[in-house]
Amino acid sequence: MTASVSDVVVAGRFASKARAAWDSDLLWSFRRSPVAIVAFAVLVACVAGAVFAPWIAPQHPYDLASLNLLDALAPPAWVSGSKPGFLLGTDDQGRDVLSTILFGARISLFVGIASVALAAAVGIGAGLVAGYAGGRIDATIMRGADVQLSFPAILIALLIDGVARAVLPHESHGEVAIAVLILAIAASNWVQYARTVRGSTMVEKGKEYVQAARVIGISPLGIMRRHLMPNVMGPVLVLATINIATAIVIEATLSFLGVGVPPTQPSLGTLIRIGNDFLFSGEWWITVFPGAALVAIVLAINLLGDWLRDALNPKLR
C-alpha cells in the first residue's frame, strides 16, 4: 500500500517535472523555431544512423568476406548501369557507399564529440582557475593560451599527429590514431573555452553570493565547482555545440590530408579523400555523398548552436 502511494507520488512528481520542462523557456523557444526543429531532426537521423550503423547498414564495408570486386564502381540506383542493393553506388573495392557513410559518420561524430568534451573539460578548468585566482596564475595560464592561439588549429593538429607518428612504433599507430586526433583537435580548441569561462568567472566572482560562500568557509575549489561553474556554463554550452561541427570539419580536413584516422577505419573525411581520386574519371558518387553527409551534419549542428545562442541570450527574448 505504502509502496503504491509513493509510486503515485513519484509518478506525479515526474509528470510535473516533465510538464515544467515542456513549458520551460528553452523548449518553448525550440517549439517556435522551425529551423531548430528541422536541424534537430536531421541531426537525430544522422546520429541514429551512425550509432546503429552495424544493424541498419546494408553491408559491413570493412568485412572483406562480404565484398565483391565485381560490384566495384557501381553508380547510384537512379543512374543507368546501377546494381541492385547499392542505393548510393559502390567505390573501387565494391563497398556500398551508403554503408561506408554510416560507419564513417560514427567515427567523425565520435571524434567530434570526444575532442569537444576534452577541450571543454580542460578549458573550463583552466578558465575557472585563471579567473578565480587572478594575478600570476591568471597571467601564466592566459599567456600560454595566447601562444596557443597564435597557431592555426590545423597546424597544431598536424604537429601533434607528426610527433605521435615519430614517437610511437609504426604498428601501434592505427590503434592510437583516433586518440591522437582527439588530443590534437582538443589542444587547438581549449583556449576558446578558457577565455569564455575566465571572462564570466571574473564577473561572477565579484558578486556577493561568492563572497557569502567565502565567509561561510567554502574552499576555493568548492566555490569554483558548486557556485561559479553552473553560472558560467551558458556560453560554454553554445560554444561546445558549434565546436562539435568545427571539430568534425578539422577531423575531416586532417583525414583528407592523410594524417587523420587510418584507411582501415575511414571517417567521412577519409571517404571524401578516397573518392576525390575518382572524381575526374566520372565516379562522382564516391566523394559527393560522404561530402553531403558531412555538410548535413555540420550544418544541422551549426543551426542548432545558433538557435541555442539566441535562446539562451536574455536580450534577444
Partner: protein
C-alpha cells in the same frame, strides 16, 4: 562587559596601480589606496555598533576585514579573545581561528546578488550547515532549514523555490536565515536595508532586532542612512576617509554631536519638526583617497579648521559627551559640544 570583537589600529591598503607594463613604459608611479587607516573599536557582546559615513569612506572594507574577506595590512582583529588577523594570529591554532570564523556571519547589501541564482533556497540556507566540520544527518538538516525559514518569517514550502521568485525583502530574509544557520554570535551587516523599499526596510530591521533579542546576537551594522542607524545601534561610529572621527553612544551622538563632520551629517537629515527652515547641506566632496589631505583629512571641508588641523592628524580622545572624538577644535575647546536644545 567583555568585548566580543576588538579592532586595534587596523589598516588596509589596496594596490590600485596600473599594470606593470604600463608603469614601466608610461613612467607611472605605484598608486596605493588607504581604504582603512588606523581604525580601533570594540563591540561588547549583545550590542550593536553602527558604522556610518559617506560612500568610499571605508565602512565596507572594515566589514570585509572583520569577516576575513580581506587581510589587514596592519593592526590586530580579535574575536572572543582569539586573534584572527595581525601579529598574534600566527600563534593561534588554525582550528581555533576557523571555529571563531564560523561563529561570525555576514549579511550583504544587494539581496539580488548575494544569493546564487541557480540554487534552491533550501540549499542556500543549508550551505553553511554542510560546510561545518561536524555535518549533521540529512533529516536534521532539513528540519533545521525549515526552522530557520520559519524564524525569518518564510514558509517551509519556500525552500523549494529559487531566489528570483522572491521580492527584495524576502531575499534579504533568506540572507538572514543563511547567516543564522550556524548559530553565530556575531553578524556583520553591510548596508542590509539600503537596497530595499522603505516599508520593507522597517520589517527587515524589526526582524533583525527581534532576532538579536531572542538569540543574544552582536551586530556590526553598516549604513549610510542615519535614521536606520539611530533605530538599531547602541553605539555609533562615524567614519571619514578611512578613519573613525567620532564614536559615541547613539543617544548622545544624535543629541550632541561633537565632531564637525557628524554635525554636518546630522544637519543634512530631513526633519519634519524643522519644516520651513533652511537645512545646511553637506558641503564639499570627499577628497580623493589616493591623495588624502595633510593633517586632519576633514580640514578642507571644515568651517573650524586652523593651521594645526592642516598639519597634524587628530587622535581619538575622550570627549565630554561620553564618546570619543578625533578633532583638534573640540580638543582645544574652540568648538563647544552642541547642546541637545539646538536640535
Amino acid at each position: 562587559m567583555s568585548a566580543l570583537v576588538r579592532l586595534t589600529d587596523v589598516a588596509r591598503t589596496f594596490d590600485v596601480s596600473a599594470p606593470w607594463l604600463d608603469r614601466a613604459l608610461g613612467g607611472k608611479a605605484r598608486a596605493l589606496l588607504r581604504a582603512v587607516d588606523g581604525v580601533s573599536f570594540e563591540i561588547p557582546r549583545g550590542e550593536t555598533l553602527g558604522l556610518v559615513g559617506e560612500s568610499g569612506c571605508g565602512k565596507s572594507t572594515v566589514a570585509r576585514l572583520i569577516v576575513g574577506l580581506h587581510a589587514p595590512s596592519r593592526g590586530t582583529i580579535e574575536y572572543d579573545g582569539v586573534a584572527l588577523a595581525g601579529p598574534g594570529a600566527d600563534s593561534v591554532p588554525a582550528g581555533r581561528r576557523r571555529q571563531a570564523r564560523r561563529s561570525m556571519q555576514m549579511i550583504f547589501q544587494d539581496p539580488y546578488a548575494s544569493l546564487n541564482p541557480r540554487w534552491r533556497v533550501s540549499d542556500i540556507v543549508a550551505e553553511p550547515i554542510l560546510a561545518q566540520d561536524a555535518r549533521p544527518p540529512g533529516a536534521a538538516i532539513g528540519e533545521r532549514v525549515r526552522g530557520l525559514l520559519a524564524q525569518v518569517g518564510l514558509a517551509a514550502a519556500d525552500g523549494a523555490k529559487y531566489p528570483h521568485q522572491f521580492s527584495g525583502g524576502q531575499r534579504q530574509r533568506i540572507s538572514i536565515a543563511r547567516a543564522l544557520a550556524t548559530e553565530p554570535a556575531f553578524i556583520v551587516c553591510d548596508e542590509p536595508t539600503s537596497a530595499l523599499d522603505v516599508s520593507v526596510q522597517a520589517q527587515v530591521l524589526n526582524l533583525m532586532r527581534d532576532l538579536q533579542r531572542r538569540l543574544g546576537l552582536t551586530y556590526l551594522f553598516i549604513s549610510h542612512n542615519l535614521a536606520v542607524v539611530h533605530h538599531v545601534a547602541d553605539r555609533v561610529g562615524v567614519m571619514y576617509l578611512g578613519r573613525i572621527v567620532e564614536i559615541a553612544p547613539t543617544p548622545s551622538l544624535f543629541a550632541a554631536p561633537a565632531h564637525p563632520y557628524t554635525r554636518m551629517l546630522l544637519d543634512a537629515v530631513p526633519d519634519l519638526r524643522m519644516t520651513g527652515t533652511a537645512r545646511t547641506a553637506v558641503t564639499g566632496e570627499v577628497p580623493n583617497p589616493l591623495d588624502p589631505p595633510s593633517g586632519c583629512s576633514f580640514h578642507p571641508r571644515c568651517p573650524f579648521a586652523d593651521a594645526r588641523c592642516r598639519s597634524e592628524i587628530p587622535m581619538l580622545r575622550d570627549a565630554s559627551t561620553g564618546g570619543k572624538v578625533a578633532c583638534h577644535a573640540v580638543d582645544e575647546g574652540r568648538l563647544a559640544p552642541r547642546t541637545p536644545a539646538v536640535r
